[in-house]
């Protein structure tokens, strides 16, 4: 029987197997940030050892950083201490750090791909669940806890049990105003926030093939939101073209040799998956979430489900979610006033996201009631946006392009959404309090977020685009 893509990459990284237990998996790249690393560095210190392979480790500061005045000391003391601790640890242990002020600084899952640190066929880990992002290159990439961060630092290996395999195929052509963010929100709404647990998911089909690398990253990024260990997309010409010329990617003959190998990273025709799903791109509309986990999503024009439509055991959680969000079962979200919009995070803060948002906002104005955060994923994205004049388009529409970081995705830095306020957000989690205590998050695509910021209320981006076409 043939092998799946996941199995090929996995098998190429098994150092040894323990009978009745996990495999020892070799890790090609370890990305480190300030929140989940201090206790791991502390553990190494206690054991009196250093990092096993320094050249496979890169660190950055992203979760705690402010998105304004990054040249000044961080105001919040504990945040500052944690970022300083990372700097101190990287210096002490010799780890490469792209810290605040460095031209490569940014969200860990944005800088890996843009620097060519992320390559097809790799195993990549980070103490952050959205490490699944890097699967877009045909890598096995997943989030780990701090004990595991310490394991990788100490041995470049992880003890892992092999996940089951799932294939999700999306064929067809996406409609106008529908993006890769809508694809993944649609999938999660279908299989639930737990539906992928125990699986590694391969995304396939013509609709996935047609996506750019950045759009593929958005899909793989949110694999964890259905509980999956990770997501993976077979590398193809789009992947090879993206990787070519990136700072740390192989060059010249090395690149050609790598591409020849990467081309073998395809699921064999006779390989079997443990589970398979199929949808068409045509059935996917712009999506939005109404509840407190990413599985609680609906098409933007649809109504929130009713209690009667769900299983008995799901009702208490559904009821709790609606109470928190202050929504009613069966109502529609279009037309609801929204005072906050967040465009950013490791899901949607790349240059294509900013280009798409700027193209929509050109010649429009932000609604007076809306406070917006637009946060580039990295210093390089910020620079590119400035070179393309995106910052000016945003400014003319009443927005400000801020500095890179995780920002309002997780309520850990200065950027938070106030209690009780709704925020249409391009991030990945709508958990209670995720964007700040009491904040109410509605996950959506960058286009839907931009259209919301202009209208001051939830709108169907397809209608907004239709109006535009009519004007022309």
């Amino acid at each position: 029987m043939g092998k799946t893509l996941f199995e090929k990459v996995w098998d190429a990284h098994v150092v040894t197997e323990i009978a009745g237990g996990p495999s020892v998996l070799y890790i090609d790249k370890h990305l480190v940030h300030e929140v989940t690393s201090p206790q791991a560095f502390g553990g190494l210190e206690k054991r009196g050892i250093g990092l096993f392979r320094l050249d496979r480790t890169v660190a950055t500061a992203d979760h705690n950083v402010p998105t304004k005045d990054q040249h000044l000391p961080i105001k919040e003391i504990l945040s500052r201490q944690q970022v300083d601790k990372l700097t101190e640890n990287c210096k002490k242990f010799g780890v490469t750090l792209y810290g605040l002020g460095h031209p490569y600084q940014g969200i860990v899952h944005v800088i890996g791909p843009e620097l060519g640190i992320t390559l097809p066929g790799m195993t990549i880990v980070c103490g952050d669940s959205h490490t699944s992002t890097h699967g877009a290159f045909g890598s096995i990439a997943f989030g780990i806890g701090t004990s595991e961060v310490e394991q990788v630092m100490a041995t470049q290996c992880l003890m892992q049990s092999k996940a089951k395999t799932m294939k999700i195929e999306i064929n067809g052509t996406l409609g106008k105003g529908v993006s890769s963010k809508d694809i993944i929100l649609f999938i999660i709404s279908k299989i639930s926030a737990a539906g992928g647990t125990g699986y590694f998911v391969e995304y396939a089909g013509s609709a996935i093939r047609a996506l750019s690398m950045e759009a593929r990253m958005t899909i793989c990024n949110m694999s964890i939101e259905m509980g999956a260990r990770g997501g993976i997309i077979a590398p193809d010409q789009t992947t090879f073209d993206y990787v070519k010329g990136k700072e740390f990617a192989p060059k010249g003959a090395k690149y050609d040799e790598a591409v020849a190998y990467w081309k073998t990273l395809q699921t064999d025709a006779d390989a079997k998956f443990d589970k398979e799903y199929n949808w068409t791109a045509e059935e996917i509309t712009p999506m939005i979430t109404y509840g407190t986990n990413p599985g609680m999503g609906i098409g933007i024009a649809e109504a929130i489900p009713t209690e009667a439509s769900m299983e008995e055991s799901n009702r208490p959680t559904f009821h709790k979610a609606l109470e928190y969000m202050d929504f009613k079962a069966g109502e529609k979200l279009i037309g609801k006033t929204v005072n906050y919009v967040f465009i950013g995070s490791c899901t949607n803060s790349r240059i294509e996201d900013l280009r798409e948002v700027a193209a929509f906002l050109k010649g429009k104005k932000k609604a007076d009631n809306v406070n917006a955060y637009i946060i580039p994923g990295s210093k390089q994205v910020e620079k590119q946006a400035q070179e393309e004049g995106i910052d000016k388009v945003l400014a003319a529409a009443g927005f400000e392009l801020r500095e890179p970081g995780c920002s309002a995705c997780l309520g850990m830095n200065e950027d938070k959404i106030p209690k009780g306020e709704y925020c249409v957000s391009t991030s990945n989690r709508n958990f209670e309090g995720r964007q700040g205590p009491g904040a109410r998050t509605l996950l959506a695509s960058p286009l839907t977020a931009a259209a919301t910021a202009v209208a001051g209320k939830i709108v169907d981006i397809r209608e907004a685009l239709k109006k535009e076409t009519a004007k022309v």
Partner: protein, 202 residues
Amino acid sequence: MEKFTTIVSKAVPLPIEEVDTDQIIPARFLKATTKDGFGNNLFRDWRYDDKDQPKADFILNDAHYKGSKILVAGKNFGCGSSREHAAWALTDYGFKVVVSSFFADIFRNNSLNNGLLPVQVSQEFLNAIFEKAKADNNLELKVDLVAQTIEIVGHNMSEGFEINNYKKTCMINGYDDIDYLLSIKDKIEHYEKTSKYLSIVS
């Protein structure tokens, strides 16, 4: 890591599904650089109101359950963020076992790496615990790691649970993975010298 064998304790029922790690420990409490003290902020926003006063209706604020070592929660416990701080908060608070019908993968690993045993039971068994705990707030559970069983004490109900042999041995003996991995360094170095993939990309 502390050694783990058998635990008998009052059950703390939390019949909520999809408890994510942002609820177990919100991001704003992840700024410490050691593993200590996270128990104070366990379930922070469910436990305290915005004036930092305990919410009377949240179960951890019920003095009756003080000192309990077993938390019982709805399916997909520990989903979301990979933060190991969630496991640290639970252990620091005093929990040794979490029972659910389904655990998120990363949380399961993080728990095992910290001597916190995730016990996955059937939905029926979980419902039975919730039902009996509702009727009797002194309901006790007995978790035996060696035998891999969980028992509702006094009700003649028990169920087996899965754990891979390697992790079981680690928990019973208090070993961690790094000790093992450091002991096979020669195998890791051999892999590095012979891997076809590494020769191509590095």
